[in-house]
Amino acid sequence: MSAVPFWVELVVALLLVCSGVFVVIAATGFLRFPGFFLRMHPPALTYTLGSWCVALAGAAYFSTLEGRLALHPLLIPLFLAITVPVTTLLLARVALFRRRRAGTPDTPPSLVATQSSADDTQGPP
């Protein structure tokens, strides 16, 4: 097992710290923001840079450590990118559905309605 040069460790450390910071910011936003849709934005930080930094750090670190190209950590952001939409899509749809059902103001009308006549966008009877 080869030793890891300091500059690599420095880069890795920076990436990790970066990830930590982004994740904390994301969590802060998620905790503080009012309204569900607003709260849905910050977690994207975690899904993206939060994981990308760690994956890059891992790839860099293990590549140096093992002396060969170790790209497998990058699979994780890739898979995340593919799978995360499922949850967010569904959850956003949930929020819309429930807001419309409850008649919450400032809720966009059903998309179908925008395509057809305005009559369909009635409130609850």
Partner: protein, 967 residues
């Protein structure tokens, strides 16, 4: 002569009789009578061998380990009993042929009668006390079945049950007594026990032993306070009453008393217990007999009284009295059996047994009447009949007994009074039914009984007369032989002469007869005026009522105890289990102070401290929300599971972390699938829990906290201790060289402890099959049958993207379009990952289990986003087949090793050198992992799809939509 064969013969006969055509009574009666006759003849020829103290023995080993052998033993006393059983058996067979009706199933009757005969012979011939108990209980069963012969009658049912419970229960006491006796003497052999009289009486357990044996004997002989069953047993057919309940079975009790007389008698305990019970029963039975209106019942109480007499005689601790007892056993059997048979004829011919309705029968049936009258006289103790002789012996015993003044004073009076009563009830039996103006309102017109039906009575009455007239000639030698073993080898001098001079006993006889006549006239007069229909002076409750009430009370009490000591509710059960565990663990560890170990503490990680706090909060939150906020609870449970997974990962258990995470995903999905069928609970507004609930909650909380503290303490104790002298280094050292894998945990699963894994996948399979089977019969709750609320409000499909994925289109539509595409893109990826985990498992974290769950989750995702129909038109997942093949592979892999001569599941590695790839190792453990994979995929999918199928099975039409869009 084989005694065992002699005992076995009636049993064999019983079996054969049961197989004969049930209605051919002549054939069966002849057969049964022949058996009894053979036994009688064989026995009679054996008399010379048992005279003067001779004993015939035969032993067959059965269970020598506990001292139970089939030991048969025939001495004079036994001979007398056995002859009685056999000869009266012949007579009863003959009598019953005419008594039983053409429709009665004769096979059953005679089969049971023969079985009883065998059992009774077994009782008397037993040379082993345990064997005695065996046959003793057999007589109880035979009696039960015979009393219940006419089982459709409630009196038969009740009488049979009562007889069995009383005598059977007594038999259990006898068993206990016999066991104690054997413990004292060191043997169950009667011969040994009969030699150990002094030792027994000196032993501390003598009173207990005596009491237990006495209970056995007194119940069987219907002695006070157990006398009540005998009158109820009269529901049996009369031949049975004559045979079992007067002549033989009820004598088993006095037989045992007489049998143990040499070793148990001679003490005050014996005198008071046996003599007391006998004396009281003598009086009570006679007294009650006077007031009976039912012929058989009168005879039953008379039997009780006479058995009391025999018991009293045995209880007097005098050899002469014992001889008298033996004599009276014979005499009573002869006259009472004949009386029962006569009563049976009367009943048979007239259709009733009510003394008040029966009058003047002597005209209709003079011969039967004459015989009955002679027998009655014998019962009353009229001179020149056998009853008189034994009664005289009894009287003289009471007179010449030397005991305390009170006893010396009261006993003769008691004897005279009892005898007086006997005269009264004998008159009631004899005079009341045979004399006076003939009755006219009888159910049937009486006629003389058939000749052969009278023959048995004639035979017995003749015996009464012959013995009564010429006792020494007729019976002297038999009595000598019979009494000798009872008194223990030294016969007292006694005289069987008719005339002993004008002495006190004769006076007592005369007083009794005269008083009896007077008493009878007085009673008749009183009853004519409608008084004394029921016995006066006796409390309204009697033994039978007490018995029934006791039984009822016992059962009710038992129910109450059960109700108090058990529960049909789950919560108390679980509480008791947990609380008991806590208490037991503390008790067990008591006396050993708990200490912490000195292992170097783990390096602290702040991040983990925080994460564990997250876990703790999640756990507590899940506990708090599970009642009303199920989804929240599931979410929090997921959080707790995640922290568990992280803990595994942190503490060097990657395999566990992998498994935990996939299991977590599947479990959550499972809960969600289930939640569909659990309607949401709602908290009622302003609901305040009643005090009881709050108390219970506090109690549960306390227990939960104690368990938590206990678990934490235990785990802390181990966390701080150094590692034990574990066997684990072996695994670490052998995984690679021996198991062919670097991942020790996986090698353990597929090699070292593969047997565990085989069991584990079997569990999974069994659970999956169970779930499937249960859901096949699933009936959803009423409020869940219709579509969920969310779907009802959006059921207009043109207006919304919230569509049911119900058609097998190329793509799911609406809001599921994108998720379904993504899920399908991920399917091959997941399979590659599964293959990756499967193949690397042996050397790196992974393995068949994780791989299987990955496959299952990938497929599950298809179900979620595309719907059941869509998935199942594209592929036929046959989960049961996956399971079957998995199990088969597992078992066959294991057996393969056996075929090669190695133990089950031994791993073999095939080495091959392939071009391009070089040397390839292929361990058979991989097959085993394949088995795991198959079962995991199959089981998981079977469970999940079985649940999922409920949704498409119950598709109730939706109510009309309230609005469009998402409303």
């Amino acid at each position: 002569m084989s005694l065992a064969l002699l005992v076995a013969l009636p049993f064999v006969g019983s079996l054969l009789a049961a197989l004969l055509p049930t209605r051919s009574r002549t054939l069966i009666a002849t057969f049964a009578g022949a058996i009894a006759a053979i036994v009688s003849v064989v026995l009679l020829t054996a008399f010379p061998m048992v005279r003067g103290g001779g004993v015939i023995r035969q032993t067959i080993h059965w269970l020598p380990s506990i001292g139970l052998d089939l030991a048969f033993r025939l001495d004079g006393f036994v001979w007398m009993f056995a002859v009685m059983i056999a000869v009266i058996g012949v007579l009863v067979c003959l009598y019953a042929r005419y008594y039983m009706s053409r429709e009665d199933p004769a096979a059953r009757f005679y089969a049971m009668l023969l079985a009883f005969m065998g059992a009774m012979l077994g009782v008397v011939m037993s040379g082993n006390l345990l064997q005695l108990v065996v046959f003793w209980e057999l007589t109880s069963f035979a009696s039960f079945l015979l009393i219940g012969y006419w089982y459709h009658r409630t009196d038969a049912q009740r009488g049979a049950r009562m007889a069995l419970i009383v005598t059977g229960g007594g038999g259990l006491c006898l068993l206990a007594g016999v066991v104690l006796l054997a413990h004292i003497t060191g043997s169950f052999q009667l011969d040994v026990v009969l030699q150990s009289g002094d030792r027994i009486k000196a032993h501390a357990w003598y009173p207990a032993t005596l009491a237990l044996i006495a209970i056995g004997a007194l119940t069987k002989s219907a002695q006070f306070p157990f006398h009540f069953w005998l009158p109820r047993a009269m529901a049996a057919p009369t031949p049975v009453s004559a045979y079992l309940h007067s002549a033989t079975m009820v004598k088993a009790g006095v037989f045992v008393l007489a049998r143990f007389w040499p070793v148990l008698s001679g003490t005050d305990e014996w005198f008071w217990l046996i003599g007391g019970a006998g004396g009281f029963t003598l009086l009570l039975g006679a007294y009650l007999a006077m007031f009976q209106n039912d012929l058989k019942r009168l005879l039953a109480y008379s039997t009780i009284s006479h058995l009391g007499l025999i018991t009293l005689l045995l209880g007097l601790n005098s050899p002469l009295a014992a001889v008298a007892a033996v004599f009276h056993i014979m005499n009573h059997a002869t006259f009472k059996a004949s009386l029962f048979m006569a009563a049976g004829i009367v009943d048979h011919e007239t259709g009733t047994r009510d003394i008040r309705r029966l009058n003047g029968l002597i005209r209709a049936m003079p011969r039967t009447g004459a015989l009955a009258l002679v027998a009655t006289a014998a019962m009353a103790g009229v001179p020149l009949l056998n009853g008189f002789l034994s009664k005289e012996m009894f009287f003289s015993e009471t007179v010449f007994l030397s005991a305390s003044p009170i006893i010396e004073g009261t006993l003769p009076v008691l004897a005279t009074v009892a005898s007086l009563f006997a005269v009264v009830y004998s008159l009631r039996f004899g005079y009341d039914i045979f004399f006076g103006p003939p009755s006219t309102d009888l159910p049937r017109t009486p006629e003389e009984a058939p000749r052969w039906m009278r023959m048995p009575i004639l035979f017995l009455v003749a015996a009464c007369v012959i013995v009564g007239v010429a006792p020494t000639f007729a019976i002297g030698r038999v009595l000598d032989a019979a009494a000798l073993p009872v008194v223990g080898g030294t016969l007292p001098t006694y005289s069987l002469a008719l005339w002993h001079g004008f002495n006190l006993p004769l006076m007592m006889s005369l007083v009794a007869i005269a008083g009896g006549v007077v008493g009878y006239i007085a009673l008749r007069a009183a009853q004519a005026r409608g008084r004394l229909e029921l016995p006066p002076l006796i409390p309204r409750w009697n033994g039978r009522d007490v018995f029934e009430a006791t039984l009822l009370g016992l059962t009710r009490g038992a129910r109450h105890v059960l109700w108090a000591c058990s529960t049909r509710q789950l919560q108390p059960q679980l509480f008791v289990v947990i609380a008991t565990t806590v208490v037991l663990a503390m008790l067990a560890a008591r006396g050993f102070p708990l200490t912490w170990g000195d292992r170097p503490r783990l390096e602290a990680s702040n991040a983990f401290v925080v994460l564990w706090i997250v876990g703790i909060v999640c756990a507590v939150g899940a506990a708090a929300t599970a009642k009303y906020h199920r989804l929240v609870a599931i979410t929090l449970m997921g959080g707790a599971g995640l922290v568990t997974c992280l803990t595994f990962a942190w503490f060097s258990a990657p395999d566990l972390a992998l498994t935990q995470i996939v299991v977590e995903v599947v479990t959550t999905t499972l809960f969600l699938l289930g939640l569909r069928w659990l309607p949401m609970p709602t908290r009622k507004a302003g609901e305040v829990a009643p005090l009881r609930d709050r108390v219970r909650r506090a109690r549960d909380l306390l227990l939960a906290v104690i368990v938590g503290i206990g678990l934490a303490t235990l785990s802390f104790a181990f966390l701080t201790r150094p590692a034990p002298q574990s066997i684990s280094p072996f695994f670490l050292g052998n995984a690679l060289p021996g198991g062919g894998g670097a991942n020790v945990v996986n090698v353990m699963l597929v090699d070292f402890r593969a047997f565990d894994t085989l069991g584990e996948i079997t569990v999974l399979a069994a659970v999956a099959l169970t779930v499937y089977a249960l859901l096949r019969r699933f009936r959803p709750p009423a409020e869940s049958i219709s579509q969920p609320d969310q779907q009802r409000v959006v059921s207009d499909e043109r207006a919304t993207d919230l569509l049911k994925p119900r058609r097998a289109d190329a793509f799911a539509r609406g809001y599921l379009l994108v998720p379904s595409v993504i899920a399908r893109l991920m399917l091959p990826v997941s399979l590659v990952v599964a293959a990756h985990f499967f193949l690397r498992g042996h050397n790196e974290p992974g393995g068949g289990f994780v791989a299987g769950l990955v496959v299952a989750i990938a497929l599950l995702m298809q179900y979620i986003v595309s719907g059941t129909r869509w998935v199942e038109t594209r592929t036929r997942v046959r989960p049961a087949r996956w399971i079957a093949i998995g199990l088969l592979i597992g078992a066959v892999t294991g057996l393969g090793a056996i075929v090669l001569g190695y133990p089950f599941l031994t791993t073999h590695t095939a080495h091959a050198t392939l071009p391009l790839l070089g040397e390839v190792h292929f361990p058979s453990a991989a097959f085993f992992d394949l088995a795991v994979l198959g079962v995991v995929v199959g089981s998981t999918l079977l469970i999940l799809t079985a649940l999922a199928h409920q949704s498409i099975r119950k598709q109730a039409p939706a109510p009309p939509p309230p609005a469009m869009g998402d409303r």
